[in-house]
């Protein structure tokens, strides 16, 4: 009896160790690509070329790549454009989604049902890339940063999550405010929104990240380079081999391609580091969002 119990225990201990080992291995696989990029961005290009395979630490750290990358004015202007899109876009999206969710949680409103259906339909069916393009162009939004905000201002999925959150607020609180003479704006701004702080944070983050990441609409609508958002510039540098434009041309081809390769890693770090620094603190909100979205039903 005693023997078999201790046998189970050793079995469990081995299991725990193996599991821990697998998890550490897993963590390395998740982190190493990022680590490689960071190390490569601080490594001299020639050294990087001679080094085949694993890269653990920059042997002779240098910030030349960063100096070169920042010499390109497009990096900074596009950073500014992206900040504008993220801040203004998230504000517009949150405002519109709150209004929509507030409306959909009112009682005794005749048009609510039909509007609700019309909104849900858009989750399943859309006009598609080409008709949307002509709509946006038709509004004269070409080359305007608002072309990257207005057409995606409301995500119906997020709106529904907000509706669910607003539904959870007890009617009695609203009613007492109504008795005190508060109108719809008063109820929304002074009661509903302050009570939905977490949901607003979650949805705000969802919107913010999607604005930060978007590049496709910018490719369609933005033709002037000084209005490019960051992701579009990144695409040029990382995926289209347009790096020779960045370095100003002068250098001969082999040198140019060297510079472009060396810049790549630095550019990735410049564009990603701010987010990687804050995400461990914000992740709990994102995770909460997944839960809310799943329970929604």
């Amino acid at each position: 009896m005693k023997l078999s119990k201790s046998k189970v225990r050793t079995g469990d201990r081995v299991f725990g160790l193996v599991n821990g080992f697998i998890m550490i291995l897993f963590a390395l696989v998740m982190v190493y690509p990022i680590w490689y990029v960071i190390v490569a961005s601080f490594t001299d290009y020639n050294e990087l070329m001679q080094n085949s395979g694993v890269l653990l630490w920059p042997k002779s750290p240098t910030i030349d790549a960063y100096k070169m990358a920042f010499r390109n004015p497009l990096i900074l202007t596009s950073y500014g454009n992206t900040l504008f899109i993220v801040i203004v876009g998230t504000a517009v999206s949150l405002a519109l989604s709150s209004l929509g969710a507030y409306f959909l949680t009112r009682q005794d409103v005749k048009l609510k049902k039909i509007i609700n259906i019309l909104i849900i339909i858009t989750m399943y069916f859309s006009g598609g890339m080409i008709p949307i393009y002509f709509t946006v162009i038709g509004l004269g939004l070409e080359n305007s940063l608002f072309a990257l905000i207005l057409p995606v201002a409301i995500s119906t999925f997020n709106l529904i999550i907000m509706r669910t959150a607003f539904e959870g607020i007890p009617r009695s609180i609203e009613e007492s405010a109504e008795i005190d003479g508060a109108g719809h704006w008063g109820i929304l701004i002074r009661i509903i929104l302050p009570l939905s702080g977490t949901t607003l944070a979650v949805i705000g983050l969802y919107y913010g990240v999607s604005y930060w990441n978007s590049w496709f609409n910018a490719m369609l609508y933005i033709k002037e380079r000084e209005k490019y958002p960051l992701q579009l510039v990144l695409r040029e540098i990382l995926l289209q081999n347009a790096t020779n434009e960045m370095t100003g041309g002068g250098a001969d081809i082999s040198e140019t391609s060297q510079i472009s390769e060396a810049i790549k890693y630095a550019v990735i770090v410049i564009a990603t580091l701010p987010i990687l620094c804050v995400y461990p603190f914000l992740q709990k909100y994102f995770v909460k969002g997944v839960m809310i979205g799943a329970v929604k039903g």
Binding site: G11, D12, F15, G16, N19, M23, F26, A27, M30, V31, P33, Y36, S52, G53, L55, L96, L99, G100, Y102, F103, R106, D108, V109, K110, I115, L118, T122, Y124, F125, G127, G128, M129, I130, P131, Y133, T135, L150, A153, I154, G183, W185, L188, V209, W212, N213, W215, L220, Q231, R235, L238, L239, Y265, I268, T272, Y279, F286, V287, V290, K296, G297
Partner: protein, 310 residues
């Protein structure tokens, strides 16, 4: 007489509704404007799929051609290739990547130390916070002939090539990187399902002499079954909605043979060759198939599980 009465009553109730709720309707107006302009107007714009649309003439003046664009698409030599690639990439992604978040959730569930568990979780969400453009940039660099993965593969195959120019390497690259991108994030939903397991079940199993592996196999895994089935069905429903963004960032004419899918083709025929109507028609075809699949999947999931995802 009675009919008339109810009619008047109805009109009256509408008037009363507007009188009572006008400020509410005013509030929701910007939202309605958004849906009207950016969702419903483009749906109306889909009539261009049945026209020979000319942007200068507009929807009203362009010539009608009926189903000509659809016929053209179904008989074109591109159609079989596009359909095949869409299905192959979709289904490989779905089936191959599906078990990974489940496994991660189960292994995470077995970790005793909270700090260690939280660290692994945080690390696993990392790719979710990197933009797609950057991820694709990293993929491209890594699989190039002197990238770290390119070199690794060269050890086995003996030839150093840029893997993104190899047609047969595209789907593996797409799927493997997708697993890396989504494993952590997708495990959240399974982890939340695991928190609802009754701890007494584990205790009962322990009394029966079950070790950790047995408990994992007989209690943890079965409790995820429902979530897995629903997600799998929804995944099947979404096979035609394969996104174009990642493929567009990674593919090139050299590998269209295996990487060109319906949504990327819509983009190229529209913005590349300005074949607007043809492109919109293909998009419409894809949306309709997708709509039917999603609705079916939702129905099946609802029937099996008592509740769909929507």
């Amino acid at each position: 007489m009675q009919k008339q009465n109810t009619k008047i009553l109805k009109q009256g109730s509408w008037a009363r509704d507007f009188h009572k709720n006008w400020s509410l309707y005013l509030m929701v107006l910007p939202v309605l404007a958004f849906y009207a302009i950016f969702c419903y107007k483009p749906m109306y714009g889909l009539i261009m799929s049945f026209q020979d649309f000319n942007p200068r003439l507009g929807f009203l003046e362009s010539e009608w051609v009926g189903f000509e664009h659809f016929r053209l698409f179904f008989t074109s030599s591109d159609f079989p290739r596009l359909l095949r690639n869409t299905l192959v990439i979709s289904f490989s992604t779905l089936i191959i990547s599906f078990p990974f978040p489940v496994l991660l959730a189960i292994f995470l569930n077995e970790i005793r130390s909270t700090g260690f568990k939280r660290t692994i979780q945080t690390v696993s969400y990392l790719p979710h916070f990197i933009s797609l453009v950057v991820i694709c940039g990293m993929i491209k660099t890594f699989v190039s002939s002197d990238g770290i993965i390119g070199q690794l593969v060269a050890v086995f195959t003996g030839e150093r090539t840029n893997l993104l120019l190899q047609p047969k390497a595209f789907t593996p690259i797409y799927v493997i990187s997708k697993i890396w991108q989504t494993i952590g994030w997708d495990s959240i939903i399974y982890l939340s399902a695991l928190t609802s397991i009754d701890q007494q079940m584990y205790e009962a199993a322990e009394i029966d002499g079950a070790g950790r592996f047995k408990k994992m196999w007989h209690i943890t895994l079965p409790s995820l079954k429902e979530t897995m089935i629903v997600l799998l069905i929804m995944g099947v429903g979404g096979v035609m909605s394969l996104g174009y963004e990642k493929i567009m960032l990674l593919y090139s004419p050299a590998i269209y043979e295996t990487s060109d899918v319906i949504s990327t083709y819509v983009y190229r025929t529209g913005f590349g060759s300005q074949n607007w109507s043809y492109s919109a028609a293909i998009g419409l075809f894809n949306s309709v198939i997708n709509l039917m699949l999603v609705i079916t999947a939702n129905k099946v999931a609802r029937k099996l599980n008592g509740s769909g995802l929507w």
